[in-house]
């Protein structure tokens, strides 16, 4: 350690710009990315911000016209539009319920898939399949609908208990389950709604956790096996070594996955707000759509910042003493 700092100070004496050189090196490494970023994204950012204060019309002969109308777009969306606030609230609420489930589920599966066992590669592939299916043509072939139909036609697939209720048309219907829960247990309606919502969301969660599982897997592979070995020699149980070794060392990636899941849930195509923005675009109201997108963007950014700040207090980095 001291050798290194001595070498550094010697270098500093010889050449005063040693740190500057390293700064420069840093900028050289990032420059391709930054250039691309400025070229391709920054302009878009600025333009769409500009559009959100304007009335933009696409002209039939080509090109477009723009007229500055101040905050009118925002006023229209937040005060006049009857649906936007509600949809925004729903999107945020869904996200808050889904993300802990997705992250916990994917960590759990990743830990299982990281065990030494036969057929591990096959299992890994299986858990990534929903991600592959969710893209491009496969999606376009309107698979989703027919798959959902297929799911519903197979009793007992979703909940296991549904087989009991086969005659009633496959899955436990939402309403029945709620009634049942009200009667059986003295649950409060809010709690029942959350539980039923979570059960309905299983398909959703399972389908949206492929990427997160892979991220966790890559992270788990980076944890040195020697730590586990020495813990085992010290008499550490599997449970303890998960919480004392795996969990702290994987915590940076838990933060990553929380943020990824937020982004995924905010920008995913199945989000009502996104549908809304896209359909507003198609109507030709680019100004309104941009304003909507910016409101949405700010809400999402706020969430990421708040959750990121809270979560990063619990994140443990190996390198930092």
């Amino acid at each position: 350690m001291s050798k290194w700092s001595a070498a550094l100070s010697m270098k500093k004496r010889m050449n005063l710009t040693a740190t500057k050189k390293r700064d420069l090196m840093g900028w050289i490494f990032v420059s391709p990315f930054v250039l691309g970023f400025i070229l391709l994204f920054l302009g878009i950012f600025i333009d769409s911000f500009r559009f959100s204060f304007m009335e933009v019309n696409v002209l039939s002969q080509g090109g477009y016209s723009e007229k500055f109308i101040g905050m009118d777009n925002f006023h229209h969306i937040l005060r006049i539009d009857p649906y936007f606030n509600r949809q925004l609230y729903d999107a945020v609420q869904n996200m808050i319920f889904d993300i802990p489930i997705i992250v916990m589920y994917s960590l759990f599966i990743a830990v299982l898939l990281n065990q030494k066992m036969k057929g591990r590669a096959i299992f890994r592939a299986i858990f990534f399949i929903p991600v592959i299916l969710a893209t491009g043509i496969i999606d376009k072939a309107d698979m989703r609908n027919s798959i959902m139909n297929a799911y519903q036609s197979i009793p007992g697939l979703d909940t296991g208990i549904a087989a009991v209720n086969e005659s009633a048309g496959g899955m436990f219907s939402n309403l029945q389950l709620k009634k049942y829960m009200y009667q059986m247990f003295d649950f409060s309606p809010a709690l029942v709604n959350i539980t039923v919502g979570a059960a309905e969301n299983i398909y959703n969660v399972v389908n949206h956790s492929g990427v997160q599982i892979l991220i966790f897997l890559a992270g788990l592979q980076a944890i040195s096996s020697s730590i586990y070995e020495s813990a085992k020699i010290e008499g550490c149980s599997g449970w303890e070594s998960f919480w004392k070794i795996t969990f702290p060392l994987i915590s940076p990636l838990i933060l990553v996955n929380i943020i990824y899941s937020i982004v995924d849930s905010f920008t995913g195509g199945k989000n009502q707000i996104m549908d809304r923005i896209t359909s507003t675009m198609k109507l030709g109201q680019y100004g309104t759509a941009s304003a909507m997108a910016w409101i949405y963007f700010l809400v999402a950014a706020l969430f990421i910042i708040v959750i990121g700040l809270i979560a990063s207090r619990f994140v443990f980095y190996q390198n930092k003493e």
Binding site: W4, L40, M143, N149, Y228, S241
Partner: protein, 290 residues
């Protein structure tokens, strides 16, 4: 002393048979659940047309036939542009886009993760914020920028923006934070390695699981590139676009469509399996001996 371990010792933590059984059972249950859509897609692609329209839909096929695939071949063979052109386009875009993205994102992530230079904090927060910006609203400005660059109707219009996708950068940066101890880099510098060498010889091998994962994501995204308003000439359009045109033929093409979907699945799955099998769990995290 640096000693990067290449092989993790074989004596992992031993589990009881009961625990093994539990893990298999759990994975099997969830695995079956995850496999359902794919099994359904495959069985749909070998269903004869009349069987596709059964209501309620049957999960498995009764009279398997390759009719759909044959139809697909017929439709493919009389396309306006030779079909191999679409296939080439998709492969080209996917390969170049992924390569560039992984290299650039890793370069940038390395510096963001392990160096200190003015403007670093701002740069990284801009990247994180851009993750949240939805594509839908950016259509007009995006088109203007691409057209001002003169890239309309060229491969660049798809490939270059893929290079600068900020998600990959963000992931790589976080992986590097987690996987690379500063001490390794310090000692490499002491031994006189240049930054370039450190990056290629030390950092990249250490984060192999990370960039293999990134490759999967990137290929996954680019493979699905479909119709795009930057591309107008038929010769530059992608496989996905061509197959969705076949689908657009209407209800009679349903079977052909599911055959096409099955064909499109094959490549991402192969890539996934290969890259996952390359992640041999040998890279130990720190490789440091204090």
């Amino acid at each position: 002393m640096i000693h990067i371990k290449l092989h993790r010792s074989k004596s992992g933590i031993k589990r009881s048979y009961f625990a093994d059984f539990g893990i298999y059972l759990f994975l099997l249950l969830f695995g079956i659940f995850m496999m359902m859509p794919m099994v359904y897609a495959i069985s749909n692609s070998i269903k004869p047309l009349e069987e596709i329209w059964y209501f309620p839909p049957r999960f498995l096929v009764n009279n398997p036939t390759l009719e759909n695939f044959r139809d697909l071949m017929v439709v493919m063979s009389d396309s306006w542009v030779p079909f191999s052109r679409y296939i080439f386009n998709t492969f080209f875009i996917t390969a170049v886009g992924t390569l560039g993205h992984v290299v650039l994102a890793s370069l940038c992530a390395y510096v963001l993760s392990k160096h200190h230079f003015p403007g670093k904090g701002i740069l990284f927060s801009v990247v994180v914020l851009s993750l949240m910006f939805s594509g839908a609203v950016t259509q007009i400005p995006n088109f203007i920028i691409i057209s001002k660059l003169g890239w309309i109707d060229s491969y660049q219009a798809i490939i270059i923006p893929a290079f600068a996708s900020s998600l990959g950068l963000y992931l790589m940066k976080q992986f590097m934070d987690q996987m690379i101890p500063d001490a390794v880099l310090e000692s490499a510098r002491m031994d006189g390695a240049s930054e370039w060498n450190i990056f290629w010889k030390i950092v990249m091998p250490m984060v192999k699981p990370a960039w293999l994962t990134l490759i999967i994501f990137s290929i996954q995204g680019l493979w699905g590139t479909g119709a795009n308003h930057f591309i107008q000439s038929e010769e530059l359009k992608t496989l996905n676009y061509a197959l969705s045109q076949i689908l657009a033929g209407g209800i009679v093409r349903t079977g052909t469509g599911s055959a096409a979907a099955v064909l499109m699945m094959i490549v991402p799955i192969i890539v996934f399996v290969i890259s996952q099998s390359k992640i041999i769990e040998t890279m130990s995290a720190s490789g440091m001996k204090e």
